[in-house]
C-alpha cells in the first residue's frame, strides 16, 4: 500500500515550551483528505494527537489548519494533491495554540456578537404583519456573504490581524455586511460604531488573502472595501449636509435609541 508522510505540529504545554514536529506515515488513498490522515493517526498510531473536527464535509468550519503553509479546511484538502509528500500540518496561524493543532478561538468568538450578526427587526414592523418578503434580486445582494461558516481561515491568512489582534477582522466584517445588505434588516446603525472604528474596516489594507483563503467564496476583502466606500460616502454627506437625512443606512425608528451615537448624529 502506498503511504505518505504527515509532518504534524505537536505542542504539549505541560512538557514543551514551543511546538515540535512529529512525522507519521499514513496510507495514501485517493479519497482521503488530510483530516482522514489525522484520524488514521489518532485511531491507529498515536491517540494523544489533539485536533478539532466534526462534519467532514466543509460545513462545520472546525477543521481549519495550516497545510504546507496555507490555511485550509483539512476535510476538503486531499492527500493525493500533495503526493509524494511530506505534508506539513500545523495549527491555524495568528491564533494562540492550546495543544497540538487546537487553537484558542475566544478572540473571534468575542468579536462576532459585537457586529450583531442577526436580523435586527424594525420596531414598527410587528411580527403580526406577516412574513418578510424578499425578491431574488434582494437575496443576491447578500447571499454570497451568508455562506460564511466561521472557520477563521481568513483570520489565519490576514497579516493585519496577525500584527494587531485588535483588528475586527475579515469574517466579522463580512458577516456584518451580510446583514447590512439584507433588505429585511434594520440594524446598520447598530453596527456602524464597531465597523467604522479605527480597529474596524479602516485597519484593513486590502491584502486580499482572506478572499483567497475562504473555502466558501465569501470574498471578505470585497465586503470590507464596499463598506469603506459606504462609510466614506456617508461621512462626506454628513460633512456637506450636517442637517440632512441619510438614506443608505437605515435609521432607527424608536425614540428610545438616543444612547446610540449613530442615531444621535443622524438627527
Amino acid at each position: 500500500m502506498r503511504t505518505i508522510a504527515l509532518r504534524v505540529a505537536r505542542y504539549r504545554p505541560e512538557d514543551e515550551t514551543e511546538p515540535t514536529m512529529q512525522e507519521y506515515e499514513v496510507p495514501l488513498r485517493e479519497d482521503w483528505a488530510v483530516l482522514d490522515g489525522l484520524n488514521h493517526i489518532k485511531d491507529h498510531l498515536d491517540g494523544t494527537l489533539s485536533y478539532r473536527w466534526s462534519c467532514r464535509m466543509g460545513i462545520c468550519g472546525s477543521c481549519g489548519m495550516t497545510v504546507n503553509g496555507e490555511p485550509k479546511l483539512t476535510c476538503g484538502t486531499f492527500l493525493t494533491d500533495y503526493a509524494p509528500g511530506p505534508v506539513t500540518v500545523e495549527p491555524l496561524r495568528n491564533f494562540p495554540v492550546v495543544r497540538d493543532l487546537v487553537v484558542d478561538i475566544s478572540d473571534f468568538m468575542g468579536k462576532l456578537p459585537t457586529v450583531s450578526p442577526w436580523i435586527v427587526d424594525s420596531e414598527d414592523a410587528a411580527p403580526a404583519e406577516g412574513e418578510h418578503l424578499q425578491t431574488p434580486e434582494e437575496l443576491d445582494e447578500y447571499q454570497q456573504y451568508s455562506m460564511c461558516i466561521n472557520c477563521m481561515l481568513c483570520y489565519s491568512a490576514c497579516p493585519v490581524y496577525g500584527l494587531d489582534q485588535d483588528f475586527l477582522g475579515p469574517a466579522a466584517i463580512a458577516l456584518a455586511q451580510r446583514y447590512n445588505l439584507d433588505s429585511r434588516d434594520h440594524g446598520a446603525h447598530q453596527r456602524v460604531d464597531v465597523l467604522s472604528a479605527a480597529d474596524g474596516v479602516w485597519s484593513c489594507t486590502f491584502v486580499g488573502e482572506c478572499t483567497t483563503a475562504c473555502p466558501k467564496g465569501v470574498d471578505p476583502a470585497g465586503a470590507i472595501q464596499r463598506y469603506k466606500l459606504t462609510a466614506a460616502t456617508e461621512s462626506v454627506k454628513s460633512l456637506l449636509m450636517p442637517w440632512g437625512r441619510r438614506s443608505d443606512l437605515p435609521r432607527p425608528s424608536g425614540a428610545d435609541q438616543d444612547n446610540n451615537a449613530w442615531s444621535r448624529e443622524v438627527r
Binding site: Y11, P13, E14, T17, E18, P19, G69, F95, P96, V97, V98, D104, E137, D140, P159, G162, L163, T205, F206, V207, G208, E209, T211, T212, D219, A221, G222, Q225, R226, K228, L229
Partner: protein, 126 residues
Amino acid sequence: MTSYQPPMSLFWWLRRRSYFFFAVRELSSVFVAWFVVYLLLLGHAVASGEAAYREFVEWSARPWLLGLNLVALVFVVFHAVTWFRLAPQAMVVRVGGRRAPPLWVAAGHYAAWVVVSALVVWVVLA
C-alpha cells in the same frame, strides 16, 4: 490556560508570495510621491525659461536619474494594474438596477487608462 503564539517576524512579508507582492504594491506609493517632486521640478524648469528647460532635459538623461525613473515607472505601472484589478471587488456598479459584471468594471477602468494616456500624449507632443 497556557498557550503558544509566536510573534510575527519583521520580515512577515517575505513569508508568502502574495504578501511580498502586497508589500511591493504598498511601496509603489513612495514612487508616486517621487513623481510629484519630479513633476514640480519639471514645471519649475519650464516656467523659468528655455535655458532652464534645456538644462532639465539634459539632467533627466543622467544615468542615475534615468535608472530611478525606470524603477519608478515599473512601480507606478504595478500600482495602476493592481488598482484597476482590485477596483471591481471594492465597488458595485449598477446598470439599470442590476449589478454590472466585475469584468466590465475592470474593463471600464482599463479603457479610461488608455483614453487618459492617449490624451496626455496628444497634449504634450502635439
